[in-house]
């Protein structure tokens, strides 16, 4: 009996020891949603659609190609920074985390994430292989603090079937989009009159990001330098007032859906409840897939364009991007190497990620024939030049976004006057930035 027990213990110890040495485990934490029901075992990335499907199958493929590496994925609710903060504070940070370019300065300035230059060079990845916008997004103090994965902006996703009904389609089948504020209102009214539906499908409830992104875009179009000093915002300006007045007018004239949160607005657009959805690059792949299905509201009637230039200043769109960062922690050389391999794999497969609709972070993808053949990419190619982020030194950009969204939302919904809302947003943001 004793011998039996000892030999069993020895076998267990051997098994555990072997498996522990067999695989290098890395903890990856990301947003982009959970879709294990559809993609848990998919390794053919070309079959995947949408952000969640593509990133899930990319990681599956990486694990299949590298049986010695175990990537343990934790999916967090977007954007997941509160959870990451708690993990970092308790010394339990994951090995690799998805992070917006706009959030990197918060973590880099506190030494919470590590530069990845050495990790990339060990895998033969040159920083020059990334686009300027992508590299700029992750570069702080001349070091790369993340693997750039994409650039994104808000776009005009167009339901051509409804636009035809509204008489807002050119002879060549392209949609007639506004070139000024007055045209936007006029076309919105025409659309509503002809279709009985709102012109725009916007995320106006339970979310703040959409308000902030539209405000940033339209301020940029008026050449408003609202973050001339990265530690102080200026919102008590005629330009900001113009934007909020426009947003309020759109709502008051019934030219937009109201009360929809993010998920409801995506559903509303795919159900044909409005003409143009103001939403991000990441939905192009999903909407194209919808448009290829007969019987849907978007069937053979979807296209997409950058947010049009509505003000005479400059053509500009607020842009951000996703990256993969390495929180500061102790790692074995094997783990660092495994992360390097993962980064190399993700960079090599940036085309697959670009199928979501995001602009690639890797320059070479732009020249790939398959990328050029992706639907609608020529329509939005200009955002590579017109996309502009906030100055990289601006910290707490997500908290700022929340304040702007709340205050601008209050003005648009009539809970505050526009002046009150902009004044309150400015003082709240400046109080936040003054107390970092």
């Amino acid at each position: 009996m004793r011998r039996f027990l000892l030999s069993t213990a020895a076998v267990i110890a051997l098994t555990c020891g072997t498996s522990a040495h067999a695989q290098t485990k890395i903890e990856l934490q990301r947003f982009f949603g959970a879709c294990d029901a559809d993609y848990a075992t998919v390794t053919d990335v070309s079959k995947a659609v949408g952000e969640c499907g593509i990133i899930t199958s990319l990681v599956n493929k990486f694990e299949a190609d590298n049986p010695d590496i175990d990537v343990n994925v934790t999916t967090v609710e977007w954007p997941g920074y509160d959870q990451l903060n708690a993990q970092m504070a308790s010394g339990a940070a994951p090995d690799v985390v998805s992070m917006h370019y706009s959030a990197i300065s918060d973590y880099q300035s506190r030494g919470l994430i590590d530069p990845i230059d050495d990790v990339l060079s060990a895998q033969g990845i040159s920083p020059d292989s990334f686009t300027d916008a992508a590299r700029g997004g992750v570069t702080k103090e001349d070091k790369l603090y993340g693997l750039p994965f994409d650039n994104w902006t808000m776009l005009f996703h167009v339901n051509l079937n409804l636009m035809k009904e509204a008489g807002l389609v050119n002879a060549d089948g392209t949609p007639i989009l506004p070139k000024s504020v007055d045209e936007l209102i006029a076309q919105g009214k025409q659309f509503k009159e002809k279709t009985g539906k709102p012109y725009l499908v916007q995320i106006l409830a339970n979310e703040t990001a959409a308000y902030a992104r539209v405000l940033y875009t339209l301020l940029q179009q008026q050449n408003s330098n609202f973050f001339a000093d990265p530690t102080k915002i200026t919102l008590n300006t005629p330009e900001a007032k113009n934007v909020v007045e426009l947003m309020k007018k759109i709502k008051d004239e019934g030219l937009t859906t109201t009360g929809l949160d993010y998920a409801a607005s995506v559903t509303a657009f795919t159900n044909g409840d409005g003409g143009i959805a103001i939403n991000g690059t990441w939905l192009i792949g999903d909407f194209v897939a919808q448009s290829e299905k007969d019987g849907t509201a978007l069937a053979k009637g979807y296209t997409v364009y950058p947010v049009p230039q509505l003000y005479p200043g400059q053509d500009s769109t607020y842009a951000d991007g996703h990256s993969w960062v390495m929180p500061h922690k102790d790692r074995t050389p094997e783990q660092t190497e495994a992360i390097g391999k993962l980064f190399k794999f993700l960079a090599d497969n940036d085309y697959e990620w670009a199928r979501t609709g995001h602009l690639p972070a890797v320059k070479a993808v732009f020249d790939k024939p398959e990328f050029k053949a992706l639907p609608h990419r020529e329509n939005i190619a200009e955002i590579a030049q017109t996309g502009r982020s906030l100055p990289g030194a601006v910290q707490r950009q997500f908290a700022i976004q929340d304040i702007i969204g709340e205050e601008v939302g209050a003005a648009v919904n009539g809970d505050k006057t526009i002046d009150e809302a902009l004044g309150s947003a400015e003082s709240r943001i400046n109080d936040l930035l003054a107390n970092i």
């Binding site: 903060n85 504070a89 506190r110 339970n206 929809l260 949160d261 707490r396 709240r428």
Partner: protein, 293 residues
């Protein structure tokens, strides 16, 4: 007394040590640590610097804090009486031993075992514009649907409805337990005196469970001041902060803005409010019982 004291040994204290250590580590230590944090300019990731009562001054000067405080007070003032009244009503209605009442007790309690995520998901199906239950009903009967989750006033109301539905089980069970403790001879005496049902309720039942009513009220005040998950998931505190409760304010300041000192100062205010509310109820209940003796 003296005999038992003489026989007591210090080693008997070991029996309370497990509880005491948890109490000290999980309650007393965080309480004092929170006070220490509130006196410092500090984020989540390192030591801070002493700023005295600066964080308290900043909190009191913050209109968003004052709005969150007002929201929490309004929420407690509306939700607690609703929970007490509905819980009592259900307990009175179900204080019988039939199969139907047993089933219904289980049914009404079942919502309490759900997680906040599930509860809010269910109520979002009811309140969400477009395809929500209330929108569909409004359209059927020809009235303009209300955007419950994104209209000032209605958003906090919607959070309140979900909360009352979720939390109703505990008050009902506590009232049921109290009702079953009332001696039946009191009811027999009332029947002999030919007392009306209303008189039985107001002169026998309610006075007999007065302490439980007070207990349920205190528990609910303390619980509802800690409102967070429902508001965060259903309305994200909006629109215009009109459904942002105090705990959500503390969470946003601490975890999203990394201003842990200010969040700790706001937490101390919440602690004081709950303490005062609980003490006030305690004093009232003690006076009442002394007066009745």
């Amino acid at each position: 007394m003296a005999e038992s004291y003489r026989r007591s040994q210090w080693s008997n204290g070991l029996f309370v040590l497990p509880y005491l250590s948890f109490f000290l580590v999980l309650l007393v230590f965080p309480l004092f640590w929170g006070v220490w944090l509130s006196l410092h300019k500090v984020d989540l990731f390192g030591p801070g610097r002493f700023v005295g009562f600066g964080n308290y001054v900043r909190v009191l000067a913050d209109p968003v804090f004052l709005q969150a405080l007002r929201n929490s007070v309004i929420f407690v003032l509306v939700s607690v009486p609703s929970l007490v009244a509905l819980g009592l009503f259900l307990a009175l209605a179900l204080n019988k031993t039939t199969r139907t009442t047993s089933f219904l007790r289980g049914l009404f309690f079942s919502s309490s075992v759900l997680s906040v995520t599930i509860v809010t998901l269910i109520w979002r199906f009811v309140f969400i514009p477009g395809d929500g239950l209330l929108t569909v009903i409004s359209e059927q009967i020809g009235i303009q649907p209300v955007n419950f989750l994104s209209t000032s006033g209605w958003s906090l109301f919607s959070v309140g409805v979900a909360t009352v539905w979720w939390c109703l089980g505990l008050p009902m069970m506590l009232f049921l337990a109290a009702l079953q403790q009332i001696p039946t001879d009191l009811y027999e005496a009332a029947a002999l005196d030919n007392a009306s049902p209303w008189r039985v309720l107001t002169r026998v039942t309610l006075p007999s469970i007065a302490r439980t009513i007070m207990l349920v009220t205190i528990i609910q005040i303390v619980m509802q001041f800690q409102l967070f998950g429902q508001a965060q998931i259903m309305t994200n505190g909006g629109p215009n902060g009109s459904s942002r409760p105090l705990v959500m304010y503390i969470y946003e300041v601490g975890f999203m803005r990394w201003d842990v000192g200010k969040a700790a100062a706001a937490s101390e205010f919440l602690f004081l409010i709950i303490l005062v509310a609980a003490m006030a109820q305690y004093v009232v209940s003690t006076r009442k019982s002394e007066a009745s003796e």
